[in-house]
């Protein structure tokens, strides 16, 4: 494959393979809390093949318990820390579905693990990304959901985020509608509607807002899972962080988020992003889960155009590289596979390329002003739009929009230039005046 014989034509300033190490990420939390620890229980990928070697878990839970919990969760994906909300010490955890089966199996260690995140007398929320009936059906196949009886301190909320081929069909329909220029206005709207793409966006964003709200407003910890915990779960946990955490709206923080919540969390990029919208044969595992996430971020960015350090171009770039790239970053389905492929040695990391000043400037939002607040997007249909930058990219000229962007950059650059000049002059003047004063004083 291309990434294996791609030789970069640029100088690597910082090796992206080491830009976002879990240990470093954990340090950001460890200053605020001592209730969590790094666990190396999955060092050999034996406990959970889709998890990274290092995960963050409650300090009170030892590795032995984790091994037991892993047997009770789908794919061995025991609950791990996804996000720590510094403001109130509450957390988002994610996992696979509990393997309760039809006979209501329970796992004391599992209960203990997630209860360890609750304050005395406080409740938590479990957000299951599947509708109740789907979760119930999952029991027949050995899966299931947390029973009230065994998790009395948790309230369960079911949402319905679609998965797999339903999303893929939605994408195919949308792209077809966008490429068909013959139909009239009404046909366009009904085809947009029939694709259901924006419905999926709305559902995902709503669930993420719900999670963020439980955390920030209710002051409750949250566990999020669907079935495997590798798709809709990650959409929700990562979007909730975009809403809650100002850092994830910076370029660096967003990259870290992708690294943590998508790559290391084991989103199977290889399976999901093999063909994109133009695949003839039905690929069983193909699904635009990551694209939906990027689109959702774009929707929030559109509503808060000054709160993100990056611009739309970064999202488009990530979309492209997730599907086809000269870099090794999105290869494989999880850390274990990437390890076996020796990607770190054999390929270049996308971040090595992106994080060079010359590239970064293309992805920097000129309107950015650090905003330390939680940003609550609107999820009303009137507030959600088709992401033209992706879907209409090849269907119409963006000349005038590009010009507008240029003009925006010019306005801001000129302002900064003047500000710098004024500051220099002020300083000069102040110096001269004190000199003057000194001459005068004797």
């Amino acid at each position: 494959m291309y990434p294996f014989f791609y030789r970069p034509m640029f100088e690597v300033i910082e090796d992206g393979w080491h830009s976002f190490l879990p240990e470093q990420e954990f340090e950001l939390y460890s200053s605020a809390t001592s209730e969590w620890r790094l666990s190396y229980v999955n060092k050999e990928f034996a406990v959970c093949p889709s998890y990274p070697p290092i995960v963050i878990v409650p300090k009170a839970i030892d590795d032995e318990a984790l091994r037991k919990v892993a047997t009770f969760r789908h794919g061995g994906r025991f609950p791990v820390l996804s996000y720590y909300h510094k403001k109130n010490g509450m957390v988002i955890m994610r996992s696979g579905q509990p393997l309760t089966g039809t006979n209501g199996r329970r796992c004391k260690e599992d209960e203990k693990l997630i209860n360890a995140t609750l304050r005395a007398g406080k409740r938590g929320y479990i957000i299951d990304t599947r509708p109740l009936n789907v979760a119930q059906q999952a029991r027949a196949k050995g899966g299931g959901f947390e029973q009230e009886a065994h998790y009395p301190q948790w309230r369960r909320i079911h949402k319905s985020i679609e998965r797999y081929h339903i999303l893929q069909e939605s994408l195919i329909k949308l792209v077809e509608a966008c490429n068909d220029q013959t139909h009239n206005m009404d046909r366009w709207l009904s085809r947009l509607e029939a694709s259901n793409w924006l419905t999926h966006i709305k559902e995902i964003l709503t669930t993420a807002c719900l999670a963020a709200q439980c955390l920030d407003r209710e002051g409750a910890s949250i566990l999020i899972h669907g079935t495997e915990g590798t798709d809709s779960t990650l959409q929700v946990t990562s979007l909730a962080q975009i809403i809650l955490e100002p850092r994830s709206r910076t370029i660096r923080g967003f990259e870290a988020l992708i690294e943590r919540e998508w790559l290391q969390a084991g989103h199977p990029f290889q399976q999901r992003c093999a063909q994109s919208a133009y695949c003839n044969s039905k690929q069983k595992w193909e699904s635009p889960v990551f694209l939906l996430f990027l689109d959702s971020v774009w929707q929030i960015l559109r509503q808060f155009p000054c709160s993100f350090e990056f611009n739309e171009n970064l999202l488009i770039m990530l979309f492209e590289h997730a599907y086809a790239s000269q870099f090794g970053t999105f290869l494989g389905n999880n850390e274990s596979e990437r390890c076996k492929l020796k990607l770190q040695q054999k390929t270049m990391s996308l971040w090595s390329w992106v994080n060079r000043p010359s590239e970064l400037s293309k992805f920097t939002n000129p309107l950015f002003e650090a905003n330390n607040l939680v940003i609550w997007p609107s999820v009303a249909p009137q507030s959600l739009q088709l992401w033209e930058g992706i879907f209409l990219r090849w269907n119409r000229s963006s000349k005038y929009l590009d010009e507008a962007y240029e003009e925006m950059v010019n306005i801001i650059e000129y302002n900064k230039e003047l500000q710098a000049k004024v500051n220099i002059l002020r300083r000069q003047l102040a110096e001269l005046e004190t000199e003057d004063g000194m001459q005068e004083s004797p």
Binding site: H158, L192, Q213, S378, E407, L432
Partner: protein, 660 residues
């Protein structure tokens, strides 16, 4: 006022449209001109002012345990839901408003009592700001081919036309009068826009009274005169903006369209824009969609499509594009008409002009355009926008559609317009508000008889005075977008047309983007200007001091002005860095808790910075919570609905995501 049955009702609740749980308690006042709701909350005492003329419908709903709900729909798309405790009060308010919202004489309208504290001279100057004779001069008229005709002096030929009309030099009074007799309501072909680059014109008229076979020599001569007035082309287009079927149906009533066999060298073209009744229903349907409580994406898109609104917008745009292309690319003059030539014709002529001439994309040029194509040519503002009580079937959002077309173009050409979205919204607001005299009556003649200019004020002067609020920061004087014709994609593209939530949901602030790029850039530009001035001042002083030092003269130099300089970087930055629209939202941002109040406050703008020069609009600008009512329609089973809320003490606006 004799129509006000009860001037004041207490303990009224104003229901928040987005999260229905919230309702503000306050007092409702009825005045001669406004409905005013003042909230009880002592810290805000927020006021909502609604002009009577903005009220579109009032609906009294079934009384519930909490009171009697009254739904007020406004023409500027505001929706007010009040709950009045007593049935009797509600009935009184209802009856009063029904009467107040439908004045029967012009003198009852707000503009006759509105007094912006300007003296007579200022008022007169205001009316002179937009001058159509100046505009025709700008177009290069009169010239060898076109002249000002006085045939309509004292409105003798056509009472819905202005007196100042440009016609081809070769069209004699005999031809004009003859032609006028062959045109519906005597609206004979006259010049609307002259494209001096290639001497091509856009003319307008009403439909010919051709029936099945009638013809009129003078009318045929009139069209020939128009063709001859643009020597570069051997034909003219005649564009009938109606659907062919409608035009044909008109023939039975002795009206109809031009027969190509009778007129030499015309190319006849139908462009199917629907009539005012279809448009009225379409808007109605779209507004129903906008009003839906937490609609699903499918509800919304399906409803939007079903309303047909964007299809109609596209039809109008297509017509405008067709004419602009005929003029600029084919160099052919165009005669546009519909039935009476005052609705669709006005829409299409003004869209085409806007595409062709960058002047109309400036602030002043846009006012001129509306003054010319709409006001002067007798668009029936009074009938269409229901200023006085009249036939509801005459009401139709004709100019609203034109305004939306402009917005759709602004979305495609962000640097091409000198004005911003707010400008369009405020114009729309004032077309209905009757606060200024510009849009009163149905024709120039009526306005003259009513002595509008002596008795009311001009909106254009008001907008011009506050033009700082209406500028598009991205507008560029030089580049391709602002010069010459705006070139739209050759294959008319459907994706171009989007739902304008900034207009139709504009009072639902929670649905709008929380930060406005326009306001941000405007603030940056303002700061840039201050910096430029400061830079100059600093350079001057620096030079002075250096001179002084060179001369070694002992001049006591003043300390730098601390008040201005020290605060500059912080205070001005906070203005520049926090877009205006956002500030309102910040105030009630759910993330604000007492503990973090300090860090937030830096981001909050004071009320003074709210960008709204318009008293009515700023009074309405709402400060919504940043939290959306997601009232998740998820099929979550009953067992997982969060219960046991009672133990908690929570704010009313909390946990709206949880209303599963």
């Amino acid at each position: 006022m004799e129509h006000i049955r009860t001037p004041k009702v207490e303990n009224v609740r104003l229901v928040d449209r987005i999260s229905s749980k919230k309702a503000a308690l306050g007092t409702l006042y009825l005045t001669a001109t406004h409905v005013i709701f003042v909230e009880n909350a002592p810290d805000t005492r927020k006021e909502t002012w609604i002009l009577h003329s903005q009220i579109s419908t009032i609906e009294k709903q079934a009384t519930t345990a909490t009171g009697c709900p009254l739904l007020i729909r406004c023409k500027n798309f505001q929706l007010l839901q009040l709950i009045i405790p007593q049935e009797r009060d509600c009935h009184d308010v209802y009856i009063s408003l029904i009467r107040l919202a439908r004045p029967v004489k012009y003198e009852e309208l707000y503009c006759f009592s509105f007094n912006p504290k300007l003296d007579r001279e200022e008022r007169e100057q205001g009316w002179m700001l937009i001058d159509l004779s100046e505009e025709y001069q700008r177009m290069g008229l009169p010239n060898n081919y076109w002249q000002l005709s006085d045939v309509n002096r004292d409105y003798r030929v056509c009472d819905s036309y202005p007196t100042e009309l440009y016609v081809p030099r070769t069209a004699t009074a005999h031809i004009i009068v003859g032609s006028s007799k062959f045109r519906s309501r005597r609206r004979f072909p006259v010049l609307s826009y002259y494209h001096k680059d290639n001497h091509v014109s856009i003319c307008r008229s009403s439909q010919p009274l051709s029936g099945f076979s009638a013809r009129c020599l003078e009318d045929e001569q009139m069209l020939q005169a128009i063709r001859k007035a643009s020597p570069g082309s051997d034909f003219i287009y005649v564009v009938d903006t109606r659907p062919k079927l409608n035009a044909m149906a008109n023939r039975a009533a002795g009206k109809g369209y031009e027969n190509e066999d009778n007129y030499s060298n015309i190319k006849f073209q139908f462009i199917g824009i629907e009539n005012i009744h279809v448009m009225r229903n379409s808007l109605q349907k779209m507004l129903e969609v906008c009003e839906l409580k937490s609609p699903s994406m499918s509800d919304f898109l399906w409803g939007l499509e079903n309303s047909g609104w964007l299809r109609h917008i596209k039809a109008i745009m297509d017509a405008g594009i067709f004419i602009a292309k005929a003029v600029s690319e084919e160099g052919a003059s165009v005669l546009v008409h519909c039935s009476d030539g005052w609705d669709r014709t006005a829409q299409v002529c003004s869209v085409a002009s806007l595409l062709l001439d960058p002047h109309y994309r400036t602030l002043k040029g846009f006012m001129v355009l509306i003054e010319k194509d709409w006001i002067s040519f007798g668009h029936k503002f009074n009938h269409r926008y229901g200023n006085l009580d009249g036939d509801p079937k005459e009401i139709s959002p004709v100019i609203d559609q034109f305004i939306e077309c402009v917005w759709q173009l602004m979305e495609q050409f962000p640097c091409a317009f000198e004005f911003n979205e707010r400008f369009l919204i405020h114009i729309q607001h004032h077309i209905y508000s009757c606060q200024f005299g510009n849009f009163l009556c149905n024709s120039q003649k009526e306005r003259q008889e009513l002595k509008i200019q002596e008795r009311t004020y001009s909106l254009w002067a008001h907008l011009w005075k506050n033009r700082g609020d209406y500028l598009n920061p991205l507008f560029r004087d030089d580049p391709s977008q602002t010069q010459g014709t705006l070139h739209l994609p050759t294959t008319p593209c459907n994706f171009m047309y989007k739902f304008w939530s900034g207009m139709y949901n504009r009072f639902e602030k929670g649905l709008q983007p929380r930060q406005s790029v326009t306001d941000y850039l405007m603030a940056v530009k303002e700061e840039t200007q201050q910096l430029e001035e400061e830079l100059e001042a600093l350079e001057e002083r620096l030079e002075k001091i250096q001179k002084v030092q060179l001369n070694r003269t002992q001049v006591k130099s003043k300390q730098s002005e601390p008040s201005r300089h020290s605060g500059f970087s912080t205070s001005d930055n906070s203005t520049a860095n926090t877009p205006q629209d956002y500030s309102g939202n910040m105030k009630s941002f759910p993330s604000r808790s007492p503990s973090q109040g300090d860090e937030d406050s830096a981001l909050i703008l004071t009320q003074d910075n709210l960008k709204s020069s318009d008293p009515d609009l700023s009074a309405n600008s709402d400060q919504e919570s940043g939290v959306e009512d997601l009232s998740c329609r998820s099929p979550s089973g009953g067992e997982c609905v969060p219960s046991e809320d009672s133990g908690k003490d929570r704010d009313s606006d909390e946990a709206v995501f949880l209303t599963a």
